[in-house]
Amino acid sequence: MGHSGKPIPNAGSGGDAVVNRIAVGAHYGLKDWLVQRVSAIVMAVYSVGFAVCVLPRMPYGFDSWRALFAPAWSKIAALLFIAALLVHAWIGVRDIFMDYIKPMGVRLTLQIGVILALLVYGLWAITILWSF
């Protein structure tokens, strides 16, 4: 366990003059928490299903990969997995930013950057899947 106890000079000499005005009460969090659990289940189910389908037929050549993603249900299942991955990643990365990036401007910029990157990944995945 890391020790992060910071010594404060003149402690105990009545440092309560400054009132703590930290505002909380954003009234969200439950849905994100739930979505993170559900998306984890989606990813777990797809990963196991994918492994069961693919591993026994290894090694895969280009034609077999193509055949695997040819049916519409296979594309949709893969897309569902990717959507779950993106949402899961967003909540996770946002949580890390909330913990470690304190200046609001920097945090907001990083968050917008991550949202844009994830959206691009999503669109990219769709174009790849539907190019088969």
């Binding site: 366990m1 890391g2 020790h3 992060s4 106890g5 910071k6 010594p7 404060i8 000079p9 003149n10 402690a11 105990g12 309560d16 703590n20 930290i22 909380v24 009460g25 954003a26 009234h27 969200y28 969090g29 439950l30 994100d32 928490w33 739930l34 949580d95 909330m98 913990d99 470690y100």
Partner: protein, 231 residues
């Protein structure tokens, strides 16, 4: 027995340092607090909080060989030498092993840790069924020693915003109490990305609790109550 103890006196020291002690114990010294009191016999400048010496007051929480615990109920025979003692992590140090608990108690205060019931009290008492009373076991025993909250990284990073395991356990103690009428307000108060949802269930709090309580489980039950009222 060898000890290495964190020392810091803001009136004298530029910065904190570790001081080594080698103390001869008596056969009657069984808990870590007994050994620290032996050390204080030779060096009375060492500062720490202590009171009941039996794990009830929660005063002597400290970091013992890297784990938070109460000195008075930590058996000496289980400790590896040199025993490294530091103040509870994450809170400002006032002196030596004494930390400023203001932030911790502010969070405790913020969950309104008292029964809210506007119905006029009956003549005798507000009764509970034995099953309803059972719900409070594992919640009411907390002694507010802060061992759990100060072992929680989420509390280290956001002590002003994240309620922390100790106060969340207390929040659930009143959410679970059938005599309390403010469950909706209590859930409103906690539905916040910082106040409740900084907890990522790493269970450091469970590992640290000297009373064997399970704040992670209580936090899970708060989330369960929130889902219950949402769906």
């Amino acid at each position: 027995m060898k000890f290495s103890i964190y020392r810091y006196n803001p009136e004298k020291d530029e910065k904190p340092y570790m001081q080594d002690y080698d103390v001869e114990l008596q056969p009657s010294d069984r808990m870590l607090l007994d050994a620290i009191i032996r050390i204080k016999e030779t060096d009375d400048s060492l500062g720490l909080r202590k009171s009941c010496r039996e794990g009830v007051c929660g005063s002597d929480g400290m970091n013992i060989n890297g784990r938070n615990g109460l000195a008075c109920i930590t058996p000496i025979k289980d400790l590896k030498e040199p025993v490294v003692l530091r103040p509870l992590p994450g809170l400002p140090v006032i002196r030596d092993l004494i930390v400023d608990m203001t932030q911790f108690f502010k969070q405790y205060n913020s969950v309104k840790p008292y029964l809210i019931n506007d119905t006029p009290a009956p003549q005798k008492e507000r009764l509970q069924s034995p099953e309803d009373r059972e719900e409070l076991n594992g919640l009411y025993e907390c002694v507010l020693c802060a061992c759990c909250s100060t072992s929680c990284p989420s509390f280290w990073w956001n002590p002003d915003k994240f309620v922390g395991p100790a106060a969340l356990l207390q929040a659930y103690r009143f959410i679970a109490d059938t005599r309390d009428e403010a469950i909706s307000e209590r859930l409103d108060n906690l539905e916040d990305p910082y106040r409740l949802f900084r907890c990522h269930s790493i269970m450091n709090c469970v590992a640290a609790c000297p009373k064997g309580l399970n704040p992670t489980e209580a936090i899970g039950k708060i989330k369960e109550q929130m889902i219950k009222r949402m769906v």
